[in-house]
Structures are given as structure tokens and as C-alpha cells.
Symmetry: C2
Subunit: 209 residues, 2 copies
DNA sequence: CGGCTACTTGAACAGAGTCAACTATGGTGG
DNA sequence: CCACCATAGTTGACTCTGTTCAAGTAGCCG
């Protein structure tokens, strides 16, 4: 199943009876408050799994919006649990997905709660770069980021203006280059230092990509 | 297995080959940065499950510390996956646990990223009160909170001083009463309004308590 | 009676938010 | 072909929320 840029794959509060694995494209998973403040919970990349929550609670409590064209592989909820019974191995895979998702969220919460604006921005950009790299989306040391600074701001919990200034600082520090949609990591060690990066143990297994 | 107050149930970076369900007592799940900044990810209550991540990745990337005496039910990692194969139903339970954990984290990230200090504090206290209520820890409309303001501050991503002032405001607004360890919710509707609370769909099934 | 730890409060400061203006770019229609 | 508009990014000035520093209070335990 394919989604156009800007379309919703999951909608906060609505029932969904499908699960998805993303085959290609970028999306954002986010929650909003009544007054429209938005928190982006995760940038979704190929290999990521969507809808575990709605597989169990019927209604999702977050939305997912496609940033680019997103190709997915769809499982119907009912069929999914049938499969589960036939292949107990699948249960393990599901828990794997859920656990690594949770680790990513843990890290994000640590970031937003404890890191300064500069650290936080560096951390997120580094994380995005590395995840893109794992999925072979980096060409000529360059990734095409399909989002704008407003998206970044909503993921960082910062205002648009401040996000812009912080990115400016990372640029003048010669850590990154970012023109139009093309992003380059100029100094990985420098970024890790600014981001207070801590080594990450668990890459996505090839099977998921 | 029982843990004393202050002892570690899981330790960041160390291997763990057990999973736990909490039977009684309070704990905190947290992550730290190298310079000792700490983010509390969750206040752990009876019925909560610990160690899903370490069940898969061997080393946990967060720590869990007992706040009170904590009684747990322990599963060995190997035995756990054997059980899983015999009872495919268990896979579903595990995914349930993981998904509701993730929902809680999503909400926390939204809070820390988007809510103001006052909103955030109200939200967290309300959440703790409700979760305590579900576990029948509320007696005479009062819960005994086994943590101090520093813990709250580390969960909110605020400084201790500011946390104190914000709690002071909730008190003068007559929304809460909090003396010593005894916490009382005086005006639930008022708290929900301040917290920008949004109805929560999914309580913990009795089976887990 | 000290000496803890937890909590409070005030004052000064800084990091991040808000407001506002300006630039660059690309698309559209006359 | 160009005037017009919308969107995205940039920058400066001012404000305010939340931090830091500092001092003081209250209760508890040996």
C-alpha cells in the first residue's frame, strides 16, 4: 500500500485495523494537544514498524503522516494474530520491534528532558543521519531530508526560530552542512561530542530492511 | 524476589537475564548522561513489567531503582522464551505490555516537549494519582508518594527549585494538597484543565495487578 | 545538641520564546 | 515574460520562563 506525501497513515483517535512495515519513504509519528501544539515522537524510516499499539487498542493515540511517498507492507489485524499463533517465532520478532521502539523513545525523552537546545539538535540530526546510513540512504555522504525546520522544532520541543539559530551554530561550528534538502555530516566526532552521544548497541537486523 | 529501597533492580549497561513483574512497591526507571543529568522515564507501580528490553538486547540501556521495598515475580530469560513457545497467547500479552508502555512514553514525551512547567507538573501528578488509584493505593483520598521533589524534577525535566515553585502554585490554586509524603487531589477537574489532560483509553487489565 | 536531608524563598541571570521584518525561492496566472 | 503570491529560511530586538546561586527553615536521627 502506498501513501502520498502529506497523507495520514494513522490518525489519532481513529480505529485502524492494519499494521504496516515501511518499505520505502519517510514519515513522522506525532501526538498533538488540543491547542495544536505538536510533538513529533519519531521520524519513521524504511524498516520501521507502525501500528503495534492500534493492533491491541483498536484506536491509535498518535498520528502518522507521510513526508514523502511511503510504500508499506500491510497486515490485517486479525490475520496478524493468526500468523502469530502459527509462528511463535513471530512473537519474539514483535517484542523485538516493540523493545527497540521503546529504547528509541527512552533516548528521545532523555534528550528533550535533559539536553540543552544545541545538544538536542546535534543528537537528533546525528541520530537521523545514522539511521539513514543504516538504510543506505546516504549517497556521496549526503542524505536528502524530506522535512523542514518546523518539523525539527516539533521533534525537539523548541520554537522554530530558536531551532533555526541552533542549526546556524552547528553550521558555523563546521559540524554539518545543510542546504535545501541536502544534509551532510562534516565532523562526526565533533557532533558526537556536542550531542553527548552514547554508543548505541542495537542496529536494525537486515531482515527488517 | 524482593528489593530494598534504594537498591537497583536493573543497571544501565549491565547484562540482566531476568524479567520482572512488580507485585508491590514503587520504583523509578531512568537514564542518565555522562555528566549525571538524570531523566526519570517512568514511575513503576505494581502490575508494571520490567526488563522487556533486556530480554532481547542482553544489556539494558536504562536503570531501575526501588523507591520502597519492591516485591517482584522473576522470570529467567531462557525459561521465558520457552514459555512463550508453549503458550502463544503469551506473545500477545507481551505485545500488550510493550504497547501500553510505549503509549505511556509517548505521553511523557509530549508532556516534556510541549507542556509548560505548570501543565507538565499537573499532568504528571494527575497521572501518578490515577495510576495509584487503579492499583488501590489511594486510601482516604490520599496516596503516599515515596519520592521527593528531586525525583519529580528529574521526571519533568525541570530544576529542583522551579519544580518546587510550580508545586507551590498548584497548592495555592487549591488543586492539590501534599504534606510530607501524603498527597491529595483536591480538585480533579481543575487539575485536568491545567494539565491539558486528554482521556485515557486503556487501563491495566486486572490480570496484571 | 549537632548534623543530616528535604523543602522554601528571593534575587540575579540566561536560555529559549515571541514578534517582526527581510530574503530567497518557486509556482501561478495574466 | 513578469508581477504576484506562498512557503521556507534568516536575523535582530525584546520578553519571559525557567535556571542558578544563595540563604534560611523545618523535621529527624544519633
Amino acid at each position: 500500500m502506498t501513501f502520498d506525501p502529506g497523507s495520514l497513515i494513522l490518525h489519532e483517535g481513529e480505529e485502524a485495523d492494519s499494521l504496516y512495515t515501511v518499505v520505502s519513504g519517510w514519515a513522522i509519528r506525532y501526538k498533538t494537544l488540543a491547542d495544536a501544539r505538536r510533538q513529533i515522537l519519531k521520524f519513521v524510516l524504511p524498516g520501521d514498524f507502525l501500528g503495534l499499539q492500534s493492533s491491541i487498542f483498536a484506536a491509535a493515540e498518535h498520528s502518522v503522516e507521510a513526508l514523502t511517498e511511503v510504500r508499506t507492507c500491510v497486515f490485517l489485524r486479525k490475520r496478524f494474530w493468526e500468523m502469530q499463533e502459527r509462528h511463535p517465532q513471530l512473537g519474539y520478532e514483535m517484542v523485538w520491534v516493540a523493545a527497540s521502539d521503546e529504547q528509541h523513545l527512552d533516548a528521545a525523552l532523555l534528550s528533550v528532558g535533559q539536553r540543552s537546545a544545541l545538544e538536542r539538535a546535534a543528537y537528533l540530526l546525528l541520530d537521523l543521519y545514522i539511521r539513514a546510513e543504516e538504510r543506505e540512504l546516504v549517497v556521496n555522504e549526503t542524505v536528502l531530508f524530506p522535512f523542514n525546520q518546523q518539523h525539527l522544532a516539533d521533534a525537539l520541543g523548541l520554537s522554530l526560530v530558536h531551532t533555526n539559530k541552533v542549526i546556524g551554530r552547528l553550521r558555523t561550528m563546521k559540524l554539518i552542512k545543510w542546504e535545501g534538502r541536502a544534509f551532510q555530516l562534516l565532523d562526526r566526532a565533533g557532533m558526537e561530542a556536542v550531542a553527548k552521544w552514547e554508543a548505541r548497541a542495537n542496529a536494525v537486523p537486515r531482515a527488517f530492511l
